[in-house]
Symmetry: C2
């Protein structure tokens, strides 16, 4: 998992904090893990409402082409986003979905991991608003592309100090639940 | 200014809110003005400390190559960022610098606009933290690539409701001062 190019896409609905999740993943990889990273969001005329996404490309080498084309790991927090953005998922890739909201994940040669991401944020961590950080923790665990320590540092550097504990709890809940869901 | 590809780069130091400025510019162009936009940040091993940047590419057509190569408009909030990121500025482009912090702007065939951006945020708007929104207002005024109304809506949709007035004031201060500085 260390060399080469690795593409991650976070998708869901607008307002779910997916850009922040992408920014934190990019900063974890670069600032704390010493890799190259490009984080981006593309908006078309469909940007108002509906499905939205953010992307991170991580590499040991300079990244010449910063657009995701063969996605290694995809998060989908809504069925619409899953339908729209799972086409580019690589064979052998990872698809993480919210099991309450994505009832019909695609079929294919990839590892499907499902757990109730938003419900975990709401009922176990205590605030729906940290669902993006639960999802980020899960993606860090499943991809292994950045270290857990780097990702936690990157989370804490991006959230208001008053919410440090909440976000750490969210990150860890996502991390642990994703591994349980994958391995069960 | 309507057709074709338009590249904007916001540069300065980490922690100055340049990613947020880029996100807001991208959302103004796409969600509110109906154009295509890609917003991105690239991080290398140098990402820890020092100069940092975020970029937005805006077009009426789908954007195939999302990396800035010939920058139409550059903001530089620090001398280091100005030195590092002004090389790709197009002939005929726009360079906006903080006049207190960038004492040696490059020479070249572009429009140089200088005013004390951070000082405006601190002393006229009342909070240094909104310097990014002052700068954004200035870039909207100077580039004309998104409408003032769209940009204001995009700002207000991205900032906490308690800070609506502060951010509106910051945006308008930047917008007005940039035009004064350019036309004087």
């Amino acid at each position: 998992m260390s060399a080469g190019r690795y593409e991650i896409r976070f998708s869901g609905a607008g307002g779910q904090g997916l850009i922040l999740a992408g920014i934190i993943m990019g900063e974890a990889a670069s600032i704390y893990d010493g890799k190259q990273a490009v984080q981006s969001q593309s908006y078309g005329p469909e940007a108002r409402g509906g499905a939205s996404k953010s992307e991170v490309i991580i590499s040991d080498e300079p990244i010449d082409f910063p657009k995701a084309a063969a996605v290694d790991a995809l998060l989908a927090l809504t069925q619409e986003a899953c339908d729209k953005y799972s086409r580019d998922l690589k064979e052998g890739g990872i698809l993480l979905v919210d099991s309450d909201l994505v009832k019909k994940p695609p079929k294919g040669k990839f590892t499907l991991v499902r757990f109730p991401i938003i419900n975990t944020a709401k009922n176990e961590v205590g605030r729906t608003i940290v669902a993006n950080i639960v999802a980020l923790g899960a993606m860090v665990a499943l991809t292994g592309i950045v270290s857990r320590e780097s990702a936690e540092k990157a989370v804490l550097s991006r959230v208001p100090e008053a919410f440090t504990d909440l976000n750490r709890k969210a990150f860890r809940a996502g991390y642990d639940k994703a591994l349980q869901a994958r391995d069960k």
